[in-house]
Symmetry: C3
Subunit: 349 residues, 3 copies
């Protein structure tokens, strides 16, 4: 038996298969600091233990996306080491806050399989769940990914494409957010007076700032998550591939976009769910990422007077400021767009 993991190929997956991923990971304030150095987020709840405690957290929770990246990273060796492309996300919910000192594990269940007509690849749908040391779920999401077959001729199970929701239901949002004391929420310290009620559906916000990405930065980030997808680290192999360059982990773009949205959504302190996301185009080092957002919907949460949820679509671009909100050119994506992310954030009411 080979001792070196070659990852699973399309024909290795079965519907209902449950994969317990290596390697468990204790998150620390060191991880948080490095995440801050790489993305520069400024949301007060995650930045200040004092601020977090004032409103009802025991201390600053770990950034939702850092938790996601660590959970996602664990799934790579088993799910997407032989992936051609990461196609989408759905039904992504943050279920409990994570604090420094917590240890994360991840498990994935195969919930869909569909061979492509070329028979060279197929689409694998997995539901990945991140858990804490006590077994409590902290995160779950579905992703689907195009995976190579080891052997074109290998038989595969019949197609099974799962039904996925277009959006996470408002009634299921907010599990990871304790009831907060809005009176103790200092809007000046948080950087903006704008609350839930100040945003209108259809409102568009240019986040103005840009961040240039360096090779060292995305490599450090992705290794921090123990993500083993070699296309992100290995220039020797990348040089022989389609792009001839190391591809930046898609999650890096999501974190950059989230940090940029502070300028416009300073009080949107928690990403509670992701309805869907598309990595519209690849990103390479040296590019500068900009972003803009549109408020797609607003909703109160059942039984909660403290926070409300905004459904936001954030578009990230490369080397293209967003004052005129680039998105589509007719049916086509604007060539500058690299990410389209549709998600729910919570704000104080």
């Amino acid at each position: 038996m080979s001792k070196t993991g070659a990852g699973n190929f399309f024909e290795d997956f079965r519907i209902g298969q449950v994969i317990k991923h290596a390697t468990p990971r204790t998150i620390t304030v060191g991880d948080v600091a490095l995440y801050n150095g790489l993305f520069g987020p400024r949301f007060a709840v995650q930045s200040s233990d004092v601020f977090a405690r004032a409103i009802g957290y025991p201390r600053s929770p770990v950034d939702d996306l850092l938790v996601f990246h660590i959970v996602f990273g664990k799934s790579v060796p088993d799910v997407s080491l032989n992936a051609v492309a990461n196609l989408g996300y759905a039904a992504f919910r943050v279920l409990a806050p994570v604090y420094p000192g917590d240890t994360l594990n991840a498990v994935s269940e195969v919930i869909g399989l569909k061979e492509n007509s070329s028979r060279k690849t197929g689409i694998v749908f997995v539901r990945t769940t991140g858990c804490r040391q006590d077994g409590g779920k902290v995160l779950e999401y579905v992703r689907w990914v195009m995976v190579r077959k080891r052997d074109e001729a290998a038989p595969v199970p019949g197609d099974h494409v799962p039904r996925l929701p277009d959006a996470v239901l408002p009634s299921t949002l907010g599990d990871a957010c304790p009831r907060i004391d809005v009176a103790a929420y200092d809007f000046t310290l948080a950087g903006s007076p704008s609350r839930f009620g100040d945003y209108a559906v259809g409102e568009k916000i240019d986040h103005v700032d840009g961040i240039t990405v360096e090779e060292a930065e995305h490599q450090i980030a992705t290794r921090l998550y123990q993500n083993t997808a070699r296309i992100h680290f290995d220039q020797y192999s990348a040089a022989q591939g389609r792009f001839a360059r190391r591809l930046i982990y898609g999650g890096h773009v999501i974190s950059l976009a989230r940090s940029l949205t502070y300028n416009g959504f300073a009080n949107a302190f928690h990403v509670t769910a992701i309805n869907g996301g598309r990595h519209v185009a690849p990103l390479f080092a040296g590019a500068t990422v900009f972003a803009w957002s549109e408020v797609l919907a607003r909703t109160e949460l059942p039984g909660r007077a403290d926070v409300g949820a905004l459904r936001v679509r954030t578009i990230a671009t490369k080397d293209r400021p967003c004052h005129d909100f680039p998105h589509k050119q007719g049916d086509q994506d604007d060539p500058a767009v690299v990410l389209e992310l549709d998600y729910w954030v919570l704000l104080p009411r």
Copy 2:
């Protein structure tokens, strides 16, 4: 109302205006580790909890300049987002030690305004104070910065230029340094036998070593401080500007210079005050920073037999070793000089 912060322009400031800055920030050992990785400081008090406790600290304090950078970063969105140039510092005093776990806030008061004759810009003088979670002041300094006007024709208040001291008075130094047990200070472990009394006024020291700066490094540092000045991160916009390159945050050069001074001032474990500083020329990635220092003055501190203060001028250069102490060429700055910093450090007596 726009939800996106455009920063203040010159005509937005008023004498006596007090600005409470976002975002509060809990400092952790993670921040300290990243700072160490970026600058490589070797002062024993900040490096070893055991060393710090032996001489009278409860544990290693956070590097004085890391505290400064975090406080400074908070003031950027309100004070200098529309700055043309950061002109100077004065009356900079470190008032209390900061430890991992402390949370920092910052407040600035506008103490001076002077419109430039072009009417396109003006100089804003602010006194910025950094505070701990319990309200205790940890740092205060005056800086002045040239800020653009939004509208040339906008009326502005009359000029008011504050009187600033040429140097911080010796009698006000040392507040952030607990009384230390010099007998327990291990000079071998600290790396040098040279005490306060071993330095002579006029003594010049070449710090010998050089450090090359990479884009990823200064970007990570500046984001760690939540400094939002886009010229440091955004190559797309920088490409259209005067330098066509990202400008390295001036504070980065100060930290590099401070780390270099270890080789010559190994026991100068605490920067207690900064009398003044000039960013003589911009620094860009790829350059190698060298430094040399001159002892300008020596002073005992009232009522303290444990430590004494040296007033030091450190000159940092780019791509130019400092064995011959480059500074001025006639009235002009030597073209290699990037920083001139005049400050007080404490050493054991």
Copy 3:
């Protein structure tokens, strides 16, 4: 007396000389996070406090190589600041686990001296010991390094070349590994079912993955260790040297190779000893490092049924995948090889 350390030259060393190195260093979870971001190790014992506790550690120990780099870094200003080349290691033993919060010191004893026939340089052999705050030894190793003479004509003591073992004796391995509960060791979470008994002497493993190194990465790593060897940081001076480039710290390659070996030795959770190592060729930024290993020997440890030791030789290459196990071409090293490391790892039985 110069206040700037120029380091020792060959004629400054004496047999039996004991050098207590600056600067003591408290290791934190911040250092661990940065190490993880730079190298991406995935061994479960070091990654998860929960996993470590389950098998008998009080919490996750600090990576053995991070401890080594910090101890090594301390010795540089005294031992190898004027080195031409780092020639070898022997008798390297890890003696006790190190945990975040521990403070490390280092001491070196000169155990051998041999002038080269040119009289311009000589070889210095030192035994360096790393200690914890309570004086407990955590690491010891011998290294030898070619050091310049300040003055060719300077008299030197007669040659004394110490006898060094070819390999660390199995009976002396394992001091830093507590007795572990193998029944509680979760091989699925650790990422592989392969135990001590599953490896055969002579077995060769290609570790498959490659990691490209950026200048910012190796600079951050080496500064984190407070290693002051200027060839790693100072491009201005390097430009005038033999390679015209900054040389990557040899220990960086060791850590990259160790991280790569996870894919094949996922349960080799502890480097207990290093028999010898050679930096076969220099490494520069931009290169991609690959690795393969051969199992040289297997041994049980006296009185221990929990873990066994494998003697492994890992070969790291640059820009050269290792599927065909490159090593020698006749008597010569394969030109792609950068590191040959012969060491003992522990695995559960």
